[in-house]
Amino acid sequence: MNAQQEPLEIRVDRRTVGASEVTVVTPVGELDLANADELSALLDSPQAAATGSLIIDLRQVSFMDSSGLRVLLMAAKERGPRFAAVVGPESAVARLIELVDVADRIHAAASEDEALLRIQAASADAGG
């Protein structure tokens, strides 16, 4: 933890799964009240919304509080089964998710491959 919080870096990539495209958003740094709005704004942007399906990879988030978790829950609510979050085992993020007991609600996966498979299955069920 630094005395001055480092700016949140957010990377955006695209993956192709079958006939579908998935947006993968990777925040890097600490996620809290001071910067959760940045992630929220990006998720609402055309850049992230274009594919309809979204993965947030949290493995490079060194700290997250309930402000960050709220952004994830909102994204999961909006996208339903076309959303998944990748969470590193035994990380600070994993501990928060366990404490609040929302792993199922954010469709937590241990790897990007697992998250992609979940979304692929959801797309197939929905006929897309």
Partner: protein
């Protein structure tokens, strides 16, 4: 607003009610927690939630205010107090938060005391240190 008591004055921060106060408080108390041998992640999350609650809720409809964060060791514990001079704990139907902050603090700290009045809110948390830490 009253300063930190001498017993827990290793850290004495006066912060404005703005979002950047959250990482500032977390960083300072987190470093102390690490040096004291406390569960740094638990302390960091609890402090983030307590200061975040103060920033979000304590000064609704008011200009300005102060959040004081005190921390220090007390025997085999790290004691942290987050105090504000806001409006006290009142229902906030337009809250931008998840509403889990206080519950999280209670689960993370070994002991939690919350006092609220029209003069503000004080959250006092203790965490085991050294061999007592999980």
């Amino acid at each position: 607003m009253q300063a930190c008591s001498d017993e827990i004055a290793d850290i004495n921060l006066e912060l404005p009610p703005e979002p950047q106060s959250v990482p500032r408080a977390r960083s300072a108390v987190g470093e102390l927690a690490e040096a004291a041998g406390a569960d740094t992640r638990a302390v960091a999350l609890a402090v983030s939630e307590a200061v975040g609650n103060a920033v979000r809720h304590a000064f609704r409809g008011r200009d300005g205010g102060t959040i004081v964060v005190c921390a220090g060791t007390e025997g085999l514990a790290l004691a942290v107090t987050v105090r504000d001079d806001g409006i006290g704990m009142t229902p906030d139907l337009e809250s931008p938060g998840l509403g889990v902050g206080t519950a999280l603090i209670s689960r993370l700290a070994a002991d939690t005391q919350i006092r609220s009045s029209q003069d503000g809110t004080t959250v006092r948390m203790t965490f085991p240190i050294g061999d007592e830490a999980p």
